[in-house]
């Protein structure tokens, strides 16, 4: 069978686990870049966790930034390379825990970068510890009896935190089924269109299965995202502003 993929995909051996959503998102980014004619221009900044594996998955010029800092680093890149699209690609631990200040301030300044945040509900690379996005009662290696929100607070919802800010675009989607994958691609494309239009900060959160750390079969894990995760983290477009041109 001939595999058709965007030119930006390297076909290097992938380190993503079976059933993981990262690879799907990488492909969608590649397709969007190809359709927008930006394949040779995109500059990406990935986090050191699972997100970092994309440095080998795609062929874009890429920085692997310190944990939690890809958005800050991407802002630095964009200030220097104003004509290039610049993407920060990171997980929920990076964006909402250690890097929450950078995520917030990028939004408060409405810095012109695209941030794609993969929300899989755990710290993946380090072996499935509790993340800001871990659901109430969800068992992880640091919440073995299930997340106790009386101690940890409620799961982090980016829409509640950034929802009232003057950013260009805020959306959430999922890569757990074919319909949502198509929608995810649409959101990614819109974010990059706004970005190329200099409208400002565009953050797309993508719900993704992590079968390895949840100890589930890939199909079951994807179904859980559809039924359980997406029930708490509602998908859709939350901010879609006409920006400054």
């Amino acid at each position: 069978m001939k595999i058709k993929a965007p030119e930006s995909i390297s076909f290097a051996e992938t380190s993503f686990c079976p059933g993981c959503g990262h690879g799907i998102v990488a492909r969608l980014i590649g397709e969007v870049m190809e359709e927008m004619g930006l394949t040779e221009k995109l500059l990406t900044v990935v986090d050191v966790a699972c997100a970092s594996l994309n440095i080998d998955t795609w062929r874009f010029d890429t920085i692997m930034a310190a944990h939690g800092r890809p958005i800050a680093t991407a802002i630095g890149v964009k200030k220097v390379r104003k004509d290039n699209p610049v993407l920060a690609y990171l997980g929920d631990g990076a964006a909402y825990s250690i890097g929450i200040a950078e995520t917030m301030y990028g939004a408060l300044r409405n810095d012109n970068v695209v941030a794609i945040v993969i929300n899989n509900g755990v710290f993946g690379m380090t072996g499935g510890q509790m993340a800001p996005t871990t659901l109430e009662g969800q068992k992880t290696s640091t919440s073995i009896k299930g997340r106790d929100i009386s101690k940890t607070g409620k799961p982090f919802d980016v829409v509640k935190v950034l929802g009232d800010l003057d950013v260009a675009y805020l959306a959430r989607s999922s890569v757990s089924n074919a319909t949502d994958i198509k929608k995810t691609k649409k959101y990614i494309r819109k974010a990059f269109e706004k970005h190329m239009n200099n409208e400002g900060y565009c953050l797309v959160e993508i719900l993704s299965p992590c079968p390895t750390n949840l100890g589930m079969k890939p199909v079951r894990c994807a179904e859980r995202v559809d039924k359980v995760v997406a029930d708490y983290y509602k998908t859709g477009e939350y901010i879609d502003k006409e920006g400054i041109q």
Partner: protein, 351 residues
């Protein structure tokens, strides 16, 4: 030559602009805030980027992005703020990225105080962040050197693709002196093949990450890189080493006092000399080869209580001479005390 009067911090900032630096990201902290204040309007004038960031962490990581994109970049901090930069400096080293980072040293551990100090010597010269590295450290002793060494720092950091630190202090930063500013030069962000700019069809993808992951000969690469910096970049000034019985070793603000002490001592017939390291790393061990057989002892003069530079001097002279120290906390060392201690050394009394 046209002299202007400038504050040390401002001369440093202007020299960065003239070196073609067009990117600053950082956070206010006394006594370095004039660097931010100056660049906040000056970057506008030259169409550069100035970002007052949410923290030093964001500042150093933005700086990394801008450096990877090919710009000449600078940030500055002091004391507790400088400690927050250390992780990022380690990342810059790991990824072989140039950057100029300024520590306008203030006194003390924890919050400390805003007065001048040379208490970050170990932090600056030993690496400071996690891992296995050192960086070039330039130590200005005047407003003029604040400008000249900052200008040089950009060239060195590009030459070695390595961060370069400026070890300034509150006194040098706050002081106004006359200064001749360097020539304005332009920097082309496309001049390096390694900087990220977009991967064209058929081109090799540029990966800005720890070299460790992809470099086959990483061990020998590191050995050669550090050897080359140690071999080429030792800088110092020395006075009267040919006949000095006691040699002071001192840098930055303290070295100015030592220079005066040498003059005063010579008038009194005391054979005193001085080695002033301009690079704290690589430590100028070559300078110590100039010591004559008349040399009896050395003494570091520095503004930290532990005598942080003593180790380096002991290593540089390979235990051939005793090494004493005159250290102070918040006050700049005094000429009279330097001479008093030197007299005791000559008389073999307890210093």
């Amino acid at each position: 030559m046209e002299y202007v009067l400038m504050k040390g911090n401002e001369a440093l900032a202007e020299a960065a602009i003239r070196a073609g630096c067009r990117f600053f990201s950082g956070y206010p902290i006394t006594p370095q805030s004039e660097i931010l204040e100056y660049l906040s309007w000056r970057m506008d004038e030259v169409e550069g980027e100035f970002i007052q960031t949410e923290s030093e962490l964001a500042g150093i990581n933005m700086l990394l992005g801008a450096s990877a994109a090919g710009a000449r970049v600078i940030t500055s901090s002091s004391g507790p703020g400088f400690s927050l930069l250390q992780e990022g400096i380690s990342y810059l080293v790991a990824a072989d990225l140039p950057a100029v980072i300024v520590d306008v040293m203030r006194y003390g551990n924890g919050l400390g105080d805003i007065g001048q100090s040379q208490g970050d010597y170990w932090q600056l010269t030993r690496g400071g962040g996690h891992g296995d590295y050192r960086v070039i450290v330039l130590a200005p002793a005047s407003v003029q050197e604040n400008a000249d060494l900052t200008y040089l720092a950009f060239d060195l950091s590009e030459k070695y693709r390595h961060p370069v630190l400026i070890a300034s202090d509150a006194a040098i930063g706050q002081m106004v002196e006359k200064v001749v500013l360097p020539e304005m030069q332009e920097h082309d962000i496309d001049k390096f093949n390694w900087s990220i700019k977009g991967c064209k069809k058929g081109e090799e993808q540029r990966k800005i990450t720890n070299l460790l992951y992809y470099m086959g000969n990483y061990d020998s690469f590191l050995i050669d890189k550090y050897k080359s910096m140690e071999g080429n970049e030792q800088r110092w000034e020395s006075i009267y080493l040919e006949d000095a019985e006691v040699v002071l070793v001192s840098y930055g603000i303290s070295s100015r006092v030592c220079k005066e002490a040498v003059k005063v001592a010579r008038k009194q017939g005391i054979k005193l000399g001085l080695i002033r390291p301009i690079t704290l790393w690589p430590f100028p061990i070559e300078a110590f080869k100039e010591l004559s057989d008349k040399c009896k002892a050395l003494m570091t003069v520095e503004m930290n209580i532990l005598g942080q530079m003593v180790d380096d001097v002991v290593l540089a002279v390979n235990n051939a001479y005793p090494v004493y120290k005159y250290t102070t906390v918040k006050d700049v060392p005094e000429t009279e005390i330097v001479i008093e201690k030197v007299k005791k050394i000559i008389l073999d009394e307890e210093v």
